[in-house]
Amino acid sequence: AQSVTQLDSQVPVFEEAPVELRCNYSSSVSVYLFWYVQYPNQGLQLLLKYLSGSTLVKGINGFEAEFNKSQTSFHLRKPSVHISDTAEYFCAVKKAAGNKLTFGGGTRVLVKP
């Protein structure tokens, strides 16, 4: 079975500063990797995904993530955050041949002015 660990439960950051959200996974088989964002009282919105190919993946809203197979990591970054980036972020994995997503515990980002 696969598992996902998001190392930080909360990340406070000042507006226009960079942010990195850490995600590590474990799996014995090939996986696809995802980052979702959840704004208050809303569902999950896909930020970006890694299926194969280039290990640097660019997503919406200026976010990017890098897949590191040797470190089994998929950290999310944004060079300059906005107040509107305040939300909870979830890393998820899915077996390449599977269907269900396995989620990390989430990282709550609070952007301060």
Binding site: Y32, G43, L44, Q45, L46, L51, K100, L101, F103, G106
Partner: protein, 113 residues
């Protein structure tokens, strides 16, 4: 186009009552998923439907939980004899036949008193 919709958005019920939660997937999506988001357990997979195949029920926490998908479209998640620990946000997602990206609805927030 229209995204995944769920109803009701909020549901308050008394312990012991049955509840039904509805999900309308994106038109043309053949795969449908239910997840539960709770404070104690995070985001958990519940059940998966793909076309006319038998559903993957491996995530259902007890036999009080059941789901069906009629006509390959709308799905209903039923919880019988609700317990306080069933209080959570129930999220529905759908994906195309390739099954790589799951698109989530806004969720149903269930509170069992």
């Amino acid at each position: 186009g229209a995204g995944v919709s769920q109803s009701p958005s909020n549901k308050v019920t008394e312990k012991g009552k049955d509840v039904e939660l509805r999900c309308d997937p994106i038109s043309g999506h053949t795969a449908l998923y239910w997840y539960r988001q709770s404070l104690g357990q995070g985001l958990e997979f519940l059940i998966y439907f793909q076309g006319n195949s038998a559903p993957d029920k491996s995530g259902l926490p007890s036999d009080r939980f059941s789901a069906e998908r009629t006509g390959g479209s709308v799905s209903t998640l039923t919880i019988q004899r609700t317990q306080q620990e069933d209080s959570a946000v129930y999220l529905c997602a759908s994906s195309s036949g390739t099954g790589e990206t799951q698109y989530f609805g806004p969720g149903t927030r269930l509170l069992v008193l």
